[in-house]
């Protein structure tokens, strides 16, 4: 712990007020989402607690605002603040899982391609090239569409969350794979790797124990930046109505539902989830930017 506080990383962190601020905001977002069942004033999924007569209440500062519902209510009388906290939970869950999935896949394939080279490298990198020519949101839509068509509705609803995680994760692995491959190509010819090879260690062991730790720092940067992308991708999918099922609405679902009421003056139903999404993604991206700069030796 002490070593961490004395590191360059910590030093550069404390020197950047924007980074400190965004770290605090990101922390609040994540804490609010994770602790939603404890912190949220209402449980928007408990049907028995909904009061239809409280529907369409404006935020507390509006003329008909109600202190029980600080950010107003939606068309079913659900508290917007609670719905956003619970929705952020789904968004973050999907975001984190998708990033972990694409990181694992991308790093593994990148290591293999870089270390083994030859045909394996050629095949894997061409696949990555092909996938990079598609916008990643299109790949995610494609995966979701195929799964939706292949599975019956009931089954699909049950595993919808996993489908979205898979769809977003799979659309993003080439970035990781290409970066890791590049670093591995450099590391492969270094003396410590050759030494390991000379004493007869198996390739897998060399990759995992010796090469991997030395190629991880750029991966961390990409992963952080990708978290923001994954959250946005999930919101886009849900906004288009192909993401998580409406029974567990994410921020994107909330924005989509609220969109129907934008013309009629009930702006808070869509604006607040949108603002929450922007704040969350912005803070994560600022952190990622800082991490990239801090780990870049050229900028030191």
């Amino acid at each position: 712990m002490r070593a961490f506080f004395q590191s360059d990383l910590w030093w550069s962190f404390t020197r950047s007020p924007v980074t400190v601020a965004s770290a605090i905001v990101a922390f609040i977002c994540i804490a609010g989402a994770v602790l939603a069942p404890v912190l949220a004033p209402h449980n928007p999924f408990d049907l028995a607690s909904l009061q239809l007569m409280d529907a369409f209440k404006p935020p507390v500062w509006g003329s008909e605002g109600d202190a029980t519902y600080p950010l107003g209510t939606d068309d079913q009388g659900r508290d917007m603040l609670s719905a956003i906290m619970y929705g952020a939970r789904v968004s973050l869950l999907v975001g984190f899982c998708a990033v972990i999935f694409s990181t694992t896949l991308g790093v593994a394939l990148g290591l293999l391609a870089g270390y083994l080279g030859g045909k394996v490298d050629a095949v894997l990198m061409r696949i990555a090239d092909i996938q990079l020519t598609f916008p990643s949101i299109l790949v995610a839509l494609l995966v979701d569409g195929v799964v939706r068509a292949a599975l019956p509705r009931e089954t699909h609803d049950q595993i919808a969350l996993f489908v979205v995680i898979f769809a977003i994760g799979i659309s993003n692995w080439p970035q990781f794979a290409r970066t890791v491959r590049g670093s591995t190509l450099v590391e492969r010819n270094k003396e410590y790797v050759q030494a390991a090879r000379v004493i007869g260690l198996p390739s897998l062991k060399i990759m995992a124990q010796h090469v991997l730790p030395n190629v991880m720092s750029p991966v961390l940067v990409i992963a952080t930046l990708n978290l923001g992308f994954a959250i946005l991708a999930e919101a886009t999918l849900s906004f288009l109505g192909v993401g998580v099922p409406p029974t567990q609405p994410s921020l994107g679902t909330l924005i989509r539902i609220g969109n129907d009421f934008l013309f009629s003056g009930e702006w808070w139903i869509t604006i607040f989830p949108g603002v929450a999404l922007i704040i969350m993604v912005l803070s994560v991206n600022l952190l990622g930017d800082w991490l990239r700069d801090a780990l870049n030796p050229k900028l030191r």
Partner: protein, 530 residues
């Protein structure tokens, strides 16, 4: 030089003609959320289809602006014998493609509507056959006495025999098998407009048929020369299109935007009741409920449970928030425009959550139970939101409700397999006679034409069946007494939980004048564009 002058002259002529056409063109660009899934006149008894076909085809008996019966292609009709109706036809009528309209087209159309692939069986269920007496007289022979035959025939469009035979379309298209035939994309009616372009899901263009008989009728000042129909599924886009002037008439504006539309310049909202009633139907047949946690018995067979679910619904809250006042809460099966309506029977069980809990406890479910509510999400005004609200209201009295909302295609398929324990349905009454509702929704299904064909809760009460048989044959006061008795039984037995009659607003540019129709089918023949 000569050439240039000729060119200039041609351009001038062209300009003049264009200006002339502009002065006369009265185009209405019409948007609605859905597109007809076929244009076959006897294949789909669905509002989205008939609202377009009604511009193109004429029935024997038409409906006026208040939905009363008036002569269409038949000038008069009389019941010459109890089982025989005689229709005297209008002479000199031509189909859009030039064929003369005569008695054999009527016989052909009725026979076509009787075919197994027809979706209009409920309107011709009592008909045995149609006979041409002479070129302009037709007899329709019924199997039983049918006092409301004229009401039913107002829903059967007349097609040309020769045209249908030429194009291999002598029977209706089989929609369930997605059959492809000439009538799916082509029309040939006798009506006020003829179709000039059709791109499914994109646009349908109808042009004025100058030879239509109705233009000469007294009092018809309709001046529309062209209708351009465009389906726009997204609510927000449809409203934006009207506000920006991209369309002139929106059949189904979302109700949350009505205030904005009323206040917008050059836009008008016309409201009126629709002859369509929303209700929740319950499975009162199975011994064990589907999609529930109750084993070995069906709580919905217990009257007290059905009453409890009824008491739990706060219809005033639904009317105020979800429908924004655009609904008429009801306790009966159909609205007052329908023959047979009895005001004293239009009484709801009051909203009373405590009473609901007590009834559930009395029936042996003090802790409630779990149930799955099936619901459409793109058919009726705010259908999904209504179901969500009801699920919450039931949850509050202990009935844990899972909501299963679907687009109409899978929803109708599911309930038509009886694969449901409780579902919401909206029922329109095109014949404007109560029998249509009783027969389809409450009679025991017996394989006969029309009886219980939409009774997917399989409610069955011999008393109700006897009353339905009485309504089919009796007339006058006796028939009205049967209706009254059936409505009382409906209130007592609670086979459904009635919710409300829909109110349908139409939004249009303020230069369009047209009567609001309670069947939610605009009639552009009566529209005036200034």
């Amino acid at each position: 030089m000569m050439r240039r002058m000729m060119l200039a002259a041609a351009m001038l002529l062209g300009l003049g003609m264009a200006a002339d056409a502009l002065a006369q063109a009265r185009v209405v660009r019409w948007a609605a959320s859905g597109d007809p899934n076929t244009l076959d006149p006897h294949s789909q008894n669905v509002g989205t289809v008939s609202m377009v076909l009604r511009q193109i085809y004429d029935p024997l008996i038409a409906r006026n602006q208040r939905l009363g019966l008036e002569p269409g292609l038949a000038l008069s009709w009389t019941q010459v014998e109890p089982n025989r109706w005689r229709f005297v036809l209008r002479q000199g009528v031509k189909f859009h493609e030039g064929e003369d309209f005569s008695a054999e087209d009527v016989v052909f159309s009725i026979t076509r509507a009787l075919a197994p692939t027809s979706n209009f069986g409920i309107f011709v269920d009592t008909i045995e056959r149609a006979e041409a007496v002479d070129r302009f007289t037709v007899d329709i022979v019924t199997k039983t006495v049918d006092p409301i035959l004229p009401n039913k025939l107002a829903s059967i469009f007349m097609v040309s025999k020769g045209w249908s035979e030429r194009h291999n379309a002598t029977r209706p298209q089989n929609t369930r098998q997605r059959e492809e035939m000439h009538t799916v994309r082509n029309t040939n009616g006798t009506g006020a407009f003829r179709m000039t372009a059709r791109e499914p899901d994109v646009r349908t263009v109808l042009s004025r048929n100058p030879d239509w008989w109705g233009w000469r009728e007294a009092g018809n000042v309709g001046n529309v020369t062209e209708i351009q129909f465009r389906p726009i599924a997204s609510d927000a886009t449809r409203v934006a299109a009207l506000l920006s002037g991209e369309v002139d008439f929106v059949l189904d504006p979302p109700i949350q935007d009505l205030n904005r539309l009323r206040n917008a310049p050059n836009t008008r909202v016309v409201e009126g009741p629709e002859v369509r009633t929303l209700f929740i139907a319950m499975d009162t047949f199975r011994d064990e409920l589907l999609y529930s946690d109750v084993r070995g018995r069906n709580p919905l067979r217990d009257l007290r449970v059905r009453q409890a679910l009824y008491h739990a619904i706060d219809i005033a809250a639904i009317q105020r928030t979800i429908m924004r006042g655009q609904s008429v809460p009801t306790g009966t099966l159909f609205p007052e425009q329908v023959q047979g309506f009895v005001r004293e029977e239009d009484v709801r069980l009051p909203f009373d959550a405590a009473r609901a809990r007590a009834l559930l406890a009395e029936a042996g479910y003090p802790k409630g139970f779990e149930i799955t509510l099936d619901c459409s999400n793109n058919r009726y005004v705010n259908d999904e939101q209504i179901c969500q609200a009801i699920a919450a209201m039931w949850a509050r009295v202990g009935v844990r409700t899972r909501l299963n909302s679907m687009p109409i295609a899978p929803f109708f398929a599911k309930i038509q397999r009886d694969d449901t324990s409780i579902f919401m349905l909206g029922w329109g009454v095109p014949t404007l006679d109560g029998l249509y509702s009783f027969q389809s929704l409450l009679a025991t299904r017996n394989g006969a034409q029309g009886d219980g064909i939409w009774n997917h809760g399989r409610y069955s009460n011999p008393q109700m069946d006897a009353l339905v048989q009485r309504m089919k044959t009796q007339q006058g006061a006796e028939r009205q007494a049967a209706m009254r008795e059936a409505l009382r039984l409906y209130r007592e037995d609670v086979p459904h939980i009635p919710l409300h009659h829909q109110v349908v607003p139409w939004a249009m540019r303020s230069n369009i004048q047209m009567p609001h129709m309670a069947n939610n089918e605009p009639q552009f023949r009566w529209a005036v564009v200034n």
